[in-house]
Assembly symmetry: C2
Homo-oligomer: 387 residues x 2
């Protein structure tokens, strides 16, 4: 198949920052792209060959969009799967497949799938709604503390809550959910697996994540993780097993816990380029976005090794600021060697909104970590007006 | 000045591959761009915020375009300078400045400027036209062999000819020109200097170039050049002197000869990102395109050091092929670690047309050089139909 400067058209469902960064690679290879996205102000508005405003959850919209392209991929999981099923039936290649997306879209099904595939994960229970969960508590079938997760459509900290008592249930939405046993863990790790149509597989190095305590968003992603080599090997093996179980094509980001006794438990997966792989743009031989593209087009996968140590800092909107964004001190951090800001292109900041990220690369990890903290303490995502 | 996700607009004159690769960086920073370019099919057609089709040599077109932007830069030297003069007079920041462009646009003036600024360069003579040159030969004021160069608008091998006898003059165009003494040289080197509005200066490592004998286009660019450190230091010093002499803002690519006795002679300069810096996208901490942007926006310059060895191979259209391009064996080279093709986005190939480039990066230069040759011998830029 000739993709380069040809009539071939790749469709992308979703136009956020992941789509935007994927488009950098399609431009590099001159592969034509069409983007479907509900917001006209989306980061991926530019750099595609055609931008279509429309709902990703609407059957007809997704179906009609699919009819215009030669291959379909996603940058967000929450899309109309019935439309994808029909398109796939009619012969359109879709990666990841709607089957995989259906499993992943619902955290309950996802967890059940791990269990039935012998993939280590924390114990969980599924509930059709909040009342169902309350009943389980009443009947002592469920005990505090646990981690409540809404089964579908959670994103970046919305949809996850640690529940220590009945008080924590008060503000929870009444939706299908799961309760996970709280597992004491040393580290949150992630491994990105690239798997191509023909089954070629490569894994990125294990990364280590630190979360912002309030927003439940990743604060630092550190590559390679500063962990024992044996633990890294185990995490990589588990990630490969997950990718295989899902027969996944494209990128699969596997988030895992390293427990107190060095067990690896799968937390959740994302079937696409992922925040935990952004460091790869500057640090790796082949960025996660390029490898997603290579995988779904069945091109040979690129080298997933790192050239240098990489740390990623998310740029999220500061509390108390909404409106036209200002990146305070961005010039200051750009003066530091190996610091690259990525500004996603959202004009309006809001508290905890993901507005961009900064990558810090250095030959020396200790130095990189020091600089990452300096970056984190310097740059502020604020607005021209105060709330 | 707030450039990031703001109303600030950068204008770019020219929409070729250099413009396209510059746009990758403006997207990364979410800086708004407008592009003026005569061809609607240009590589920089996408990824800009506004694309304007129009002549770069037409006063009104360039002037009107300039009135729409907050800062103006170029990706090609051949633009209407009178329009730029007027825009600059009216207060528009233009980098590089029209003064510098006027000096560089004309190779005769450029060479004179080196002489008057004590910058080492090969001896030259200027001629108003071909007849003027013939008269000099007749009067023995000029002798064969020499290098003929048209004074203006030469590009990639057009406009340069080695003249060994009167026969070589037959097909030369009757334009203003220079004749340069032929200097026996060991190496062609280049140094890219980044100089910001406030005068911060950084240089990229010295690169080594090999030219295709027929097309007079660069075949390999090798970074770092495999030369003596003293020679590299001298080349860097000369390049800095040229940048200073021109009071240049932005990138200045300084092409030089290393003579048999290790003298450095300036060949010519390009006041913009340059083919000899393409390797920097994959190999450097900060790509040449990002540093051009940082320089003209007066942001701190990024680290110009390399993470790994880099070699760049140009992809030019093969002789005997015209029409819809096909990149034969592109999958084969993509299977090699550290190999990244860049496809510029020109649908039609023609003999010797620059269609893309491939970067090879590796920790080990010897390995990189071996792979570069494999790449060069594998990939072919051909067409779906034979001429």
């Amino acid at each position: 198949m000739n993709y380069f400067s040809s009539d071939f058209k790749l469709g992308i469902l979703g136009g956020g920052q992941l789509g935007k960064m994927l488009l950098t690679e399609t431009r590099k290879f001159d592969i034509q792209t069409l983007v479907l996205e509900p917001s006209e102000e989306a980061p991926a508005r530019y750099s595609c060959n055609g931008f279509y405003k429309g709902s990703l959850m609407d059957f007809d919209t997704v179906y009609q969009f699919g009819k215009m392209v030669d291959l379909l991929t996603i940058e967000i999981e929450n899309v109309n799967l019935d439309a994808l099923d029909k398109l796939e039936e009619e012969g359109l290649p879709i990666y990841p497949s709607p089957k995989t997306l259906r499993l992943i879209q619902n955290k309950g099904k996802q967890k059940d799938y791990y269990v039935s595939n012998d993939i280590p994960t924390s114990p969980h229970q599924r509930f059709v709604d909040l009342n169902d969960l309350r009943n389980a508590l009443a009947k002592d079938e469920l005990e505090f503390p646990f981690v409540w997760k809404c089964a579908q459509f959670g994103y970046d900290g919305n949809g996850v809550k640690i529940c220590r008592s009945a008080l924590d249930l008060v503000k929870l939405p009444d939706v299908e959910c799961i309760a996970e046993e709280m597992v004491p863990f040393k580290n949150e790790l992630a491994v990105i697996v690239a798997r191509s149509v023909s089954g070629e597989v490569k894994t990125y190095p294990v990364v280590e994540m630190e979360f912002h305590p309030e927003a439940n968003q990743v604060e630092y992603v550190i590559c390679p993780a500063r962990i024992d080599e044996k633990v890294a090997e185990k995490a990589t093996e588990v990630a490969l097993k997950v990718s295989e179980a899902f027969h996944h094509v494209g990128l699969l980001a596997v988030e895992m816990f390293q427990t107190a006794d060095d067990e690896i438990l799968v937390n959740e997966v994302a079937p696409r380029p992922h925040n935990s792989g952004h460091y790869s743009i500057e640090a790796s031989y082949t960025s996660q976005f390029e490898n997603h593209l290579r995988a779904i087009l069945n091109l040979p996968l690129g080298n997933t090794d790192s050239k240098v140590a990489g740390i990623m800092v998310n740029l999220v909107g500061e509390e108390g600021f909404s409106g036209q964004v200002v990146y305070e001190n961005i010039e200051k951090i750009m003066a530091i060697d190996g610091v690259t800001p990525h500004i996603y292109g959202k004009r309006e900041t809001r508290p905890f909104r993901k507005m961009g990220h900064v990558t810090i690369v250095n030959e020396d990890m200790t130095e990189a970590r020091k600089i990452a903290e300096e970056v984190k303490n310097s740059i502020r995502v604020i607005s021209t007006t105060i709330e």
